[in-house]
Amino acid sequence: MDFLKRRVPTLIVLIVGFLMIGTFFVPMEASEALSKGATKWIRLIAAFTLIIGISSLLRAHVRKIYNMSAGWGYSLTLIIAFLTMTILGFAKGIEDGTYFMWAFNNIQFPLAATTFSLTAFFICSASYRAFRARNIEATIMLVAAIIVMVGRIPFGEMLTDALPQNIKFLGLDNMTSFILDVFNMSARRAVLLGVALGGIATSLRIILGIERSYQGKD
């Protein structure tokens, strides 16, 4: 049983992983067909993962309603909202002009946009409470943030226009561009290189069966 539970999945990853790497380096019709076929299968399997995510969510909330746990009324709201959207979608389709799109435009879209916009208020509050120039590094960060925040608004551009031509490069929008093109870009690139190397190393560890956390616990 351990062979089926542990060894077979590891073997699948090993064989499929090396085959996929091979398709890149062997430009034959057979390897192209293999790569095409694998990606086709991935697109279909990924759709089922969406449904599994929905099932997990509904399971948790149905359990809450069944047990009448604290807040079960909200879970009932969730289930009703889910059923409403599903019925609207399957009854009349999902194109523009349907009840489904009306619900998306007037309920889901505003709710999503508003929920995410709450973070702006917390950032403003955190700016007052937590953003302190405690040391040199924090001061550098603070100054860079202020330059970018002023440089990227029309007000900052107006200040630059007011400068004489020979020192316009000291204007806030020009300094912002320099910060983004040089300092930000360099640091991001270094992080990107590190992430790419780490990703490649992790992928190799997964293919070789050293990393098996994707299999979960027994």
């Binding site: 999945p9 590891t10 699948i12 990853v13 090993l14 499929v16 090396f18 996929m20 890149f24 990606t39 279909l44 759709a47 089922f48 993962t49 599994i52 099932s55 289930i79 909202a81 889910f82 409403t84 959207m85 979608g89 999902i94 009840y99 998306f104 435009n105 309920i107 889901q108 505003p110 709710l111 946009a113 995410f116 916009s117 709450l118 973070t119 950032i123 590094e137 550098i140 960060m141 860079a144 943030a145 970018v148 925040m149 910060i179 040089v182 300092f183 930000n184 360099s186 991001r188 690139r189 270094a190 990107l192 290189l193 790419a196 490649i200 992928s203 997964i206 293919i207 994707y214 299999q215």
Partner: protein, 220 residues
């Protein structure tokens, strides 16, 4: 049902739900929780409809109706994933997951090396002195200075994250330069994050003032 589809009703519903979410800023309350659960439920319903109409119907059901029975194999693998919900056979879901992980890991290695590693590295290693060598004041152009700073930045930041060796003496200064680059990067990221988040509030408040209250206060 006649209420659904009406634009004015839609704007009023959106405005009421927007205010319900914003009521959280005062304190957590039932109106906020109610709106939040509606959002999650509707998103789940939306996802199911999109998964059916955009993926399962064209790529599975229509293929089967055209006698392309090979799609049954990935469909079967997808169905095997549902075994996760039953603890005694949950291990079966490892098979489709292994396939997905294997393909993803295998495909990502060469493309990451090419797109992320090699291209980004080659773009860092650029000519550093392209000015007029005979004129001492114009040996370095502005682009050269930028390229030198970029090379220094990438190397020093990469070096800062190198924790396998002891960073002492001269190497310590390279690491400190990396920290300066990182601090400026974090500052720029913070500035842009503020810009991004604030834009969302601007959008919502514009909706409330212009689309919802606009006809009453002369703003539309």
């Amino acid at each position: 049902m006649a209420l659904i589809g009406n634009e004015t009703i839609g704007i009023w519903i959106a405005a009421i739900l927007t205010l319900a979410i914003y009521s959280f800023l005062y304190k957590d309350n039932p109106a906020y929780k109610f709106a939040e659960h509606i959002f999650v439920g509707m998103t789940a319903g939306y996802t199911l409809c999109i998964a059916y109409y955009n993926v399962l119907q064209p790529n599975l059901i229509n293929e089967l109706s055209e006698h392309n029975y090979w799609v049954l194999i990935p469909a079967f693998l997808g169905l095997l994933m549902f075994s996760r919900f039953f603890s005694n056979i949950a291990w079966i879901s490892r098979i489709p997951i292994s396939f997905v992980i294997g393909v993803g890991a295998g495909i990502s290695i060469p493309y990451s090396v090419q797109g992320s590693l090699m291209k980004q590295s080659s773009s860092t290693i650029t000519p550093l002195i392209t000015g007029n060598m005979s004129d001492i004041w114009h040996i370095f152009t502005f682009a050269d200075i930028s390229n030198i700073l970029i090379l220094l930045g990438v190397v020093s930041v990469l070096f800062y994250f190198f924790f396998s060796i002891e960073q002492n003496k001269g190497l310590k200064y390279l690491s400190k330069i990396g920290i300066i680059y990182l601090m400026i990067f974090f500052g720029a990221s913070f500035g842009y994050t503020v810009m991004g988040r604030v834009s969302l509030v601007i959008g919502r408040i514009r909706f409330l003032l212009v689309d919802w209250l606009g006809p009453f206060i002369g703003l539309s």
